[in-house]
């Protein structure tokens, strides 16, 4: 992450807002897909592919995956900084927590890149 991103996330209110904003995007995506499936019950495979090929839909899908990753990253960061502390599990906590944050960052980054590849290869 860049220094600017770290500076942005150093603010508790920015982090809190970002997590809620990301949740809003994921929720809107879910509602859109459910609405679509209810309205177009007869949609076949080709219509579904064409829908997902459209640039706005590709962008929306990618934005949702990115939002989900951001939401999960902030949530998991809260969990590890709550439970993996020197006070709770001893002096190794700092190292274990850093490893956990690295793993969480890696998994969420790979997930976003994987979604990007899937969405753009339709």
């Amino acid at each position: 992450m860049t220094g600017l991103t770290l500076l942005f996330l150093r603010s508790g209110s920015n982090k809190w807002l970002l997590q809620r904003f990301a949740a809003g995007i994921v929720l809107s995506y879910i509602m859109f897909i459910v609405y679509l499936l209810i309205i177009h019950r007869e949609m076949d495979y080709y219509e579904w592919v064409n829908l997902n090929k459209a640039i706005p839909m590709r962008f929306f899908s990618f934005l949702t995956a990115l939002s989900l990753s951001v939401h999960a990253w902030i949530g998991m960061w809260c969990v590890v900084t709550d439970y993996i502390t020197v006070r709770l599990i001893g002096p190794k906590a700092d190292l274990i927590r850093k490893i956990c944050v690295f793993l969480i960052t890696s998994v969420t980054t790979v997930y976003v890149l994987w979604v990007l590849k899937v969405v753009w290869s339709i």
């Binding site: 603010s11 508790g12 807002l17 900084t81 709770l88």
Partner: protein, 234 residues
């Protein structure tokens, strides 16, 4: 006869803490838990606990009574007895000095962080800084905190990060000054609280509201601070 099970630990003589049972006859009276402790102390002078005003004002005798934090002086036996037994432990989450006495340094360190005093650099008026009745009413439910630590030591977020999360008591006091129309350092106070831990580590568990012996609502105050921070961020 009532069984009173009390947490005992003297670092000079005990390797580990232990629970000691006392038999106590309340003679059918609904005494306060502090009265019981005082009588047991006559029986065993080595029993140590803090107390002062014995009427819920000083906040000295905060302890964990049958699983719930509270003030021993205003907790009647009838509220604390479970199966003819009372279990009394020190407030959880802070180091024990001896028996029911805890080390409250960390709690006070967080209180100090929020600068619990009015800041106003304008010239001091001849008599007093005036407030309207509406402005004064905003402080109700905030100024009454007696710093007994029952709320903060009931809060899992404070147990996990007592050095970073201010805790419900400190945040209630922080809002008491943020809400005060006479205080002019709102921006500075908020900027000091806007990190991921000081305020935002509150997960809304609301143990603080459940245990506050003065019936205050720290979670609501934390919500107000959060709203002020977010309004400042957007």
């Amino acid at each position: 006869m009532l069984t009173v099970s009390i947490y005992r630990y003297n670092p000079e003589t005990d390797k580990y803490p232990y629970m000691q049972d006392f038999e106590f006859d309340a003679l059918g009276k609904d005494l306060m838990v502090l009265d019981v402790l005082e009588k047991l102390k006559v029986e065993d002078p080595s029993l140590v606990f803090r107390r002062s005003c014995r009427e819920g004002v000083c906040g000295s005798d905060g302890m964990n009574i049958s699983g719930k934090n509270g003030l021993a002086c205003i907790t009647p036996l009838s509220e604390a007895i479970r199966n003819n037994k009372i279990i009394i432990r020190p407030l959880p989450g802070l180091p024990v000095i001896r028996d029911l006495v805890i080390d409250m340094k960390q709690f006070y360190a967080q209180y100090e962080k929020i600068e619990p005093y009015m800041v106003n650099d304008s010239p001091v008026p001849e008599i007093e800084r005036l407030q309207s009745q509406e402005e004064r009413a905003k402080l109700d439910g905030l100024y009454e905190c007696i710093l007994c630590a029952c709320c903060s030591t009931a809060c899992p977020s404070f147990w996990w990060n007592p050095d970073k999360f201010i805790g419900p008591s400190g945040l209630l006091q922080a809002y008491r000054f943020l809400a005060d129309s006479r205080d002019t350092s709102t921006k500075e106070r908020l900027s000091k609280l806007d990190d991921p831990f000081s305020v935002f580590r509150c997960h809304g568990i609301m143990n603080c509201v459940q245990v506050c012996p003065k019936g205050l609502n720290p979670t609501r105050a934390i919500g107000h601070i959060r709203n002020m921070l977010i309004r400042g961020a957007t």
